[in-house]
């Protein structure tokens, strides 16, 4: 592949993929970022800026941010804005684009993310998801809101995709923030090397930690990976003393069994009574974004859980002496 992707090198080892983010020319650490969300008030305390990194080693069926999964930049299309003029088809040298009544379709095998269609489209239907940025580039955006962080007890949250999937970048960015006194949140599903995590924790004020399932086999069915590493990393975080909030996506029919919730609460409470647990009710709002990336959403028929089921799960977790909240 060519284009912005060329800055990235994929290295594999020990079954834990990671992206080595050294910039090729300047020696600067680069990250693939797909969004910086300002006035973010759902990703930790206070007013925050959330940096969304692109690329995730897991492949959860219910993922509501499909644009975050692929570690490489890709082009999405906002069909509601499309006039079906076809200019994108004309400029595409890879012949990857077709346009019909529904809007744009991109053949992802053919698309080389050259970006010509994006430039050609006057209506901003096409959008590049993921940009390669240096730590300083990202930081200069983040520090524009420093006074808001201070006045609200907020800060910066780094999430994904998977923040541990770009460990050098995550480390450098959080370090940069903490050096100037900005509170940092790491939002992670824990699938990264323990050594990287350990380094990152030095500059992390608070961790949001996803746990999807306690059973290793089912975990692999749901996410493509086993959970051994994730559970070991959780222990590591708890030992480090950095406060942690466990986030459990609550997906009906997938991980909502009483056994799983109990096992989860038992395991967590065995590690720490201090850890808080948040239940994140399943929602389908990511569905639109699958279409924007020409992907199929497998759980299209799955409905959100009932309030009753959620409060039952909450009670179970609380019965293990853990504080638990259901997110809205």
């Amino acid at each position: 592949m060519v284009g912005p992707v060329g800055l990235l090198q994929v290295v594999r080892g020990h079954g834990v993929p990671r992206v080595d983010c050294k910039g090729s020319s300047m020696g600067e650490i680069m990250g693939t970022v797909f969004n910086i969300q300002r006035y973010s008030i759902d990703d930790g305390p206070g007013i925050r800026s959330t940096v969304f990194l692109k690329g995730c080693p897991l492949n959860c069926k219910w993922c509501s941010n499909p644009e975050s999964q692929n570690r490489n930049p890709e082009i999405s299309h906002r069909d509601s804005l499309c006039s079906k003029c076809g200019i994108c088809v004309q400029v595409c040298e890879a012949a990857a684009i077709t346009v019909d009544e529904a809007g744009v379709h991109i053949d992802r095998d053919r698309c080389n993310v050259c970006g010509k269609c994006i430039d050609a489209c006057d209506r901003e239907v096409l959008e590049l998801m993921g940009r390669s940025m240096t730590v300083e580039e990202v930081f200069s955006q983040l520090q524009r809101d420093t006074d808001y962080y201070e006045s609200s007890g907020g800060g910066v949250t780094i999430c994904g995709g998977e923040a541990l999937y770009q460990p050098e970048f995550t480390f450098a960015l959080l370090k940069r923030c903490r050096e100037v006194g900005i509170h940092t949140c790491l939002d992670t599903a824990g699938y990264g090397t323990s050594s990287a995590l350990q380094r990152i924790l030095q500059y992390t004020s608070l961790v949001f930690y996803d746990i999807k399932h306690l059973d290793a086999r089912i975990h692999r069915e749901l996410t493509g990976k086993q959970n051994g590493l994730i559970m070991r990393n959780l222990e590591l975080i708890i030992r480090s003393g950095v406060p942690v909030v466990i986030r459990v996506p609550y997906i009906p029919g997938h991980n909502d069994s009483k056994e799983n919730i109990e096992a989860l609460a038992k395991t967590v409470s065995g590690m720490s009574k201090e850890a808080k647990v948040n239940l994140l009710p399943y929602h389908r709002f990511g569905m639109g974004k699958y279409a924007m990336l020409d992907r199929r959403y497998e759980l299209a028929k799955l409905l959100p859980p009932s309030k009753e089921d959620l409060s039952k799960a909450k009670e179970i977790i609380e019965s293990f002496g853990l504080a638990c909240e259901v997110a809205v």
Partner: protein, 843 residues
Amino acid sequence: MTITDSMLSKANAKEIKSVVVMTERLKKLKREWEDADPVVYVDDTLLFTKSWKETDGLPVDLRWAKAFAKRLEECPILLRDDELIVGSLTKFTRGNNVLVAMKPREVLEMAKTGRFDRKLSDISATYIDPEDLKLLIEDAEYWVQHMPTVNYVNEALKEELGEGHFDLMFDRGMVFEGRAVRVDPDRGLFQGWGAFGGGIAQPTMPVIHNGLNHVINLAKAEIDKMVDQGACLPGASAAALRKYYLLKATIVSCEAIIAYAHRYADLARDLALKERNPVRKQELEKIAEVCDWVPGNRPRNYWEAVQSLRFLHLACWKESSERPEVGIGRIDQILYPFYEEDLAQGRLTRQEAGELLGAFWLKIRETENLVTIKREHRAAPGTLLPDVTLCGIDENGRDLTNELSWLVLEVMRQIKLSEPAVYIRWHEGMDEDFMLHALECNRDFGGGNPAFLNDKLGTDRYLARGVKPEDATNWLASGCLGYHLECGEHMAGMFSINQAKIFELTLYNGFDPRTKKQLGLQTGDVTQFTSLEQFYEAFFQQEDYFAEILRKHYFIWWSSENMNSPMSGLRAAMLYEDCIPAGLTSREGGARYPVCRASWIGDRGITDVADDLAAIEHLVFRSNKFTMAELLDAMAANWEGHDDIRQMCLNAPKYGNDDDFVDEIFNRVSLTTQMILTGRPDPFTGEKPMLFKGAAAGHVTQGASVGALPNGRKAGTPLNDAGTSAMPGMDVEGPTALINSATKAPHAWETVGITHNMKFPKAMLTSTAKLENLAALVKIFFARGGWHIQFNIHDSDELLKAKENPEQYKNVLVRVGGYSAYFVDLPPELQDEIIARTLHEVY
């Protein structure tokens, strides 16, 4: 620095939040108001005309006061079942008052077409009784016949500035907008602006606290002094005579209000005699006792203070029928001594205090004004602007927030009426609980109420203009939205300068493509320009040219207005400490400080101009996407056949995204035009004019005259709305970015109003933690030098619109923990799901 002894105990805060404002009584009264049809009320105008005929030959100041007195002394009065606070502007539950003499031709036209526009609603039809209609037509015909045949303001303008000057005015080129810049303003008896020049009176604390009898006594003593000194003997100067008649007019006006209150006292006594229900009988007896005493005397208790405020507000409203922007003022300060004393003596409960305040609120809202200005020409449709101001720091650094500040918010939240609007003077040390209460009320109320003003900035601006600390700290919100000292008057709305139009003229070398006239200077053919610097230079030259014309216009307008229209005794009464010794109203120089009557210049379209310049720099000079000539062609065609160019223009960097490239352009345009406009002293006071970049709907009227612009805007569509608003839908980086863009430079310093509107989805305010974040946002806005911020809380309506018109709402975000997407990108069924969630949110 701030002494914060004002924090409310938790117990009292809790008690105030548990006050039931909407008692059965108020629910019933509100329901009656909601169910009532608006009706045109004619008695007031008929009484005015009757009086005017009777007083022919008397000095105009006295005629005006006598007409005012007749309107109060002979109008029908009524006391509704269950009312506690009394005094109605009309005899209808929803009456539309009109004063024909001020605009007879327009009223006649409305009366003959049967189409009555109200100021407070989008419904344009208002009922009128057929008999009343006949009387109204007669009245209008009388005034049309007896109107001066020429308009004295425009004659003076013609004499001094020539015929061509009219091409710049509201009805033609619209370089200037406002009620004082019309080619054909249809003035009646007084042609500048009703009878009131620029200012508008409102009840003041000294008048309520000391009573109108005190004012009358001072006026009488001043007359005695004049007589003793021989000032008004035959042969004395015209100025002394004018002073004498103003003092007399003051006495006539004050006595009329007292007499009006006494009529209510009599009525209440009569009703009490007939009343069978002992509880109501007692209430009526109480009302009689209250109305016997106020507003003539200092209130003896809270109830009387509220009633006094009602009578005085009504009086100011009545006098100023054509310009009803009568503020209510610092209600928590005005009423507090009485509230505190009553609570301490055990004479009043918080519940009773809340109900009385609610009753006052309902009385304010029952008034609607029939205005004859065409809907599309109105500065502020849908509002009468009875602004309430809360809190503030005094000259000793004391925080004046009190229990009533809390209670007023609770009343506003529960009674849910679009008016009065509430403005909080925010300061750094503001009690956090109070702030959360205010934001909670804002959330529950919906529209931008309460709004927040920067206490320190408001005071500092007056200190910098030489006002003493005790007066500089005593200011209040007025209009939509400016502010003024309590020892002065609201001045807004006379002249606006249309920056977007001036920029358009610059693009066409001073030529106006709409009127096909050379309105501006020839500052060069922009297709030959090679840098943005040349655009700046040309634009600022035009600006300078028009600023000088505006200043001349202002001088001519105000001097002919002062020569020809009456001074109001009521206005002198409200500022009696200064106006009575001076024998002048504020407008003529009777107010304490010159700044009290410095002109306000409306200044609109700066963010539009910044976006225009950014688009030109970005697309023409930097990336060479097209030439200036091609851009002008596309604009001339209103983009038809040039959709590609328009889209590029729309996608060019826009103000409001914390993008230094555009923001620096905005800063330069804003600060330079500010210097140009305030650089010329106001010819009456020698003061710098104050700039007004408020929230009124002038962006709609002014936009109507402006063709397509380089920012991608289409011809005739509204300009950006408030002082620091971004182009609709173009601020995609969120609230912190918009605030940063708006506050990088001191845009607020020379302004008397610069509004920063923000929209928030209700979902972002559903928990205390989220409200705390909003409070932090407000804090930073003010720390960065912002002046006025208000939050419009939107819910499902906004999303329904976004579903229909995705292009205009492409930045509406849906946020769930760990997830974010644009609403318009969701499939329809999920959009519906989000809308349903929004609808069913429970607080």
